[in-house]
Symmetry: C2
Subunit: 251 residues, 2 copies
């Protein structure tokens, strides 16, 4: 572990220590769950105080890179950054950016159809069953605004799950991120009121058609269904206030 030169200015030491530990993890190719030196050892190795070391660990924890446990056998461990945390951290960036519904849908309309096409015929029975379970939330038309909202959130969960099943981690993350934003937005404001029977019928039809195409391995049809779906969803939300993300995402 590189100690920052003892002659370094006596400021921002926690950050320096955090960066040193990061490099150390990379150099050794450490994996999730691997052990890091304990507080006591860090203190002697870096020649810095307990507080400084602890602040460094908080930095790494905040980024999701380490996890810490107390007790015997405890200590700090390399911690894989979860998708949830990555979404939250990226969400903080867009908090200040004034994202619009149009911005999000411009991308969804590009990406979601390709995702659907790429998944056609590749899903396992277990995965298909999971998706069916989410579609089941659409079984009957919503009787109240609350139910309508729940159905919309379930539909976004459907897209997130599709995204996770993608073999492409980048595509999966980008789509999951957008679904998360829309999902939060839907819960925050109460969109989609009042309940709308025609809308329900359409939404359900899309999901069922898509599942059929996915099972059949018909990529072109899956792509086309998703394209139509996105257009409809976009049109539906278009009237909403333009600016989203006026708060930080949950961690």
């Amino acid at each position: 572990m590189d100690l920052p030169a003892k002659s370094e200015p006596k400021r921002r030491r926690p950050l320096q220590v955090a960066e040193a530990i990061k490099s150390w993890v990379v150099e050794r190719g450490l994996r999730r769950g691997d052990r890091l030196p304990g507080e006591a050892e860090m203190i002697t190795r870096f020649g810095m105080s307990k507080s400084t070391i602890r602040e460094a660990m908080r930095i790494l924890e905040a980024q999701g890179l380490v996890e810490t446990r107390t007790g015997p056998g405890g200590g700090s461990f390399v911690g894989e950054v979860t998708e949830e945390r990555a979404r939250a951290l990226l969400g903080n960036y867009f908090y200040f950016k004034g994202l619009s519904i149009d911005d999000i849908y411009a991308l969804r309309e590009l990406l979601e159809p390709e995702l659907a096409a790429s998944l056609a015929g590749t899903l396992t029975d277990a995965q298909l069953a999971d998706l069916d379970a989410l579609v089941a939330a659409y079984d009957s038309p919503a009787q109240s605004p609350e139910e309508e909202r729940d159905q919309h959130v379930a539909s976004l969960a459907f897209h997130r799950k599709l995204a996770r099943y993608s073999g492409n981690p980048l595509l999966g993350f980008f789509i999951g991120f957008m679904a998360q934003i829309l999902s939060d937005l839907t819960v925050y404001r109460r969109l989609y009121e009042p309940p709308n029977q025609t809308l329900w019928r359409k939404g359900r039809a899309y999901q069922l058609d898509l599942m059929a195409a996915l099972r059949a391995g018909d990529a072109d049809r899956a792509r086309q269904i998703m394209r139509d779906h996105m257009k409809t969803a976009h049109a539906m939300m278009q009237d909403q206030e333009a600016e989203v993300m006026r708060r930080f995402m949950a961690e």
Copy 2:
């Protein structure tokens, strides 16, 4: 500012404080540069020790949400998350994910052409001049592997700049993120050796054609040029080792 109940278990207090401060910032709609209470006030407000408060501030700093300065008039301030930091934090997520060249180009081929099309005819003279300056790095064929590498990095900077000029922050970030990964990768491994005259001619031709289409406001042509460009670039890198991102991104 919500104080976590004093009866809370005596663990993870810095994290609780950090979350409380986040909510406080959101509730008040604070903007970049707005002042946060000083250490002394936090200590009394939360009834916690200096160390705990400081660890909380390190957490927020690590996420890019606050900045801190010493001295009179100093203190902690709301700090807008920079694009650079957001890229680094998201990069940490993909560090563990084993991203492949194909993953990245699958998305570039979808997104970059639409970016080019959306920018056609919308750029200011100053923006066009900035882009020209980057194209100038391609003026003459590379004489060495180092020069070749510099040219490729310059070309990725060209794409990052295009992305920044996009009116869509989401599209801009996604494209910028991918360019950053490829740029780091190019510097890290020494791809594209030995120098290749034909490649240089092609790369230069793409950039010039694209600039012409952007100036002319010809969206369809810009899209098509970018599409071809992506296909070529993908093919060029396809032989490279599949796995990228075996280190953390620079902050």
